[in-house]
């Protein structure tokens, strides 16, 4: 008996994998049904649904990049402290000193790549008309995922706390100040007042809520850190789960009738 067979017949192996090696047709079916990770997929699938020239694999790549970001992001969180005192220098140390500093590069380039692939995925879905019935709602979930992906990227942009970061966020969050009714410099904010006192001022408007202050400062860093590392990823994970579930329930990848 070879070593491989010995391992595969051991009690330990069998306790982990509930099926023999997927070498024949029966076990290739069984593996899909009994493995937690694989049960995301159906057992069999139409050829066009997995053709690279049809799906461009962009949804899958986006998902993979999301996982890469989660993994490298957790590793970065072990080093990085979101305070005015340390944020910049922790990132600098990641670049110059830390052994696994390349995690920061992978995290940043992965984030850029994810923004691009999520656009391309949407582009493909549109061009193949895959948003048409019965997949309308999955398109809607997709649009939410698109927004959240951009927000993930945007909130992460601030964390290195360098010149690039705070000014990009300043430019971006100035928009909140101009929110109609809810921004301190937006049209109609004067209408929201009580007894002559404005309810919306630059200390209570949408920008203030986003930044936790009038300017990009320590409170902003804290807010963006929580949004970036906890709040948005949790929501995105949930939506991705629903997205995948819907792909299957809506009849798998779209194809001509």
């Amino acid at each position: 008996m070879s070593v491989g067979d010995y391992i595969r017949n051991s009690q330990i192996w069998k306790s982990v994998f509930r099926h023999p090696a997927p070498t024949d047709r029966r076990n290739r079916v069984v593996v899909m049904l009994t493995n937690f990770f694989l049960h995301l997929h159906p057992v069999s699938i139409k050829q066009q649904g997995i053709a690279l020239s049809y799906t461009w694999c962009m949804g899958g790549i986006t998902f993979f990049l999301f996982l890469v970001e989660a993994l490298t992001g957790v590793l970065l969180m072990f080093y990085y402290r979101p305070t005015l005192e340390w944020a910049f220098y922790d990132i600098q140390a990641l670049r110059d000193v830390q052994t696994l500093g390349i995690m920061r590069e992978i995290h940043r380039w992965g984030a850029h790549a994810m923004v691009i692939t999520v656009w391309l995925h949407m582009y493909r879905v549109f061009l193949t008309g895959s948003y048409k019935p019965p997949r309308e709602f999955n398109w809607v979930i997709g649009v939410l995922l698109l927004v959240l992906t951009l927000l993930l990227s945007f909130t992460g942009y601030l964390l290195p706390w360098d010149q690039l970061a705070i000014w990009a966020i300043t430019v971006g969050s100035n928009m909140a100040r101009a929110h109609p009714f809810l921004g301190g410099e937006g049209p109609g904010f004067q209408l929201l007042n009580m007894g002559g006192y404005d309810l919306i001022t630059n200390a209570s408007d949408a920008k203030f809520m986003l930044l936790g202050g009038r300017f990009v400062g320590e409170a902003t860093l804290n807010r963006f850190y929580i949004l970036h590392c906890v709040a948005i990823p949790v929501v995105v994970s949930g939506l991705i789960a629903i997205h995948f579930w819907r792909v299957r329930k809506d009849g798998g990848i779209s194809q001509p009738l």
């Binding site: 047709r25 159906p42 069999s44 993979f64 691009i116 582009y123 690039l164 928009m175 001509p256």
Partner: protein, 457 residues
Amino acid sequence: MNPHPDLTSGVLHGLGWYYLILFVMNLLWTVRSFKVDGEFKKSTPILGGMPVATVWAVLTSILLMLSAAHFTGGSSPEKFMIRLPEWFKNPVDAYFANPVIYFAGSVGLYWAMIRFREWWVQDTVAYTMLQLSLIFMGLSLSDYDFRQIVGKPDNVPIVAMLFIVSFLTWIYFKRAVDNDNRIAQGRPLFEQENNEKVLVWPDLVYIELICMVVLTAVLVFWGIALEAPLEEPASSVKTPNPSKAPWYFLGLQEMLVYFDPWLAGVVLPGIILGGLIAVPYIDFNKGGNGYYSFKERSFAISTFLFGFFPLWIALIVLGTFLRGPNWNFYGIYELWDVHKVVAANNVNLSEFFWNSPLFSWMYGGLPKGDSFMGSPTLTLLLRESPGILLTLGYFALLPPLLGLTVLRKYFVKMGILRFLVFSNLALWMAVLPIKMLLRWAFSLKYIVGIPEWFFNI
């Protein structure tokens, strides 16, 4: 410091590798051409009986020589000869340093992409365009200012994205043209052929595995090759010029040139998202579901492509590569000179209106203070009434008007609610190009300008 430091040996070596890669690419292509285009049979008359592959062979050898020249020229870069001449760069800058021509050009490209789709989906045509753009990139990289902006680590993904998007768009049109022909001839669609059921293990799981390995390799390589940017520590007193939002929001930042933040930063993004969400509910066309096609959904596809290319990708490219200090427009080979002055003398619609001969004679110019019925508010409204009426008419009158005339077909099929949503979204989409045109043609600043209420359109 010399504002245009010259080529360095590092750059020359980099370009040497660049041309070496192009050489390998074209070597393979020459072989392919020899096999596919035929040796001597299918030759074109221009080539006088020579195989098409000859052209590629010549290009291939030129690229090899270019590569060798760059590798050997590295020792004395200041004497290196192969670079873009000024007589080429100056007109290109004069051309690019102009938002009007840039936008018109991107719309023209968009139109040509659709109009000539059957021509450019051919392998040789597409490959030629790819090579031309790569060689253009290579030559341009010999320019200092071009390198500064294109070579910035954060901008590299955008350049990559341009190539990837072009490639995927090519795939789309190739498949769509093919399917359109199949439908016209009554043959089954491409997606209907070879569409047997296969087992997910192994057919899909191995694709996924290979995909993950390749992507990991790409990310690690990318991470080693390019260091993530880290500038000086944040300082709330030193404002960088220009201050740019992250690159994927530069399309929105570009809209700030034409609209106030409440529109460019809040309302328009909201409309974009709302519009995207509404897409499946307003597209009543049942055709083209689950396969690539153009003719069956030409309206939907053209609209989407218009939003995606001229109004999104092109504006991101503009914001990233062509907007410099003070948000002025700079050519791709132009130095980002902080002191560049661009005259901006924009006028509001109300000024046009009330200062026109007729109304300045009737009313005596712009209504001011509380000159109208003793009320400042009413005076403001009167002053801005032309713009307010125009805007209201645009959003309230145009949809029913269109529905009864040009778009009657859609109106009938969609029903009233769906049609109103659709036509308003379409009108919103046109808002940016309209405002751009008005700005360029008449230096128009605001259609409705009530800075007192932060309400400017």
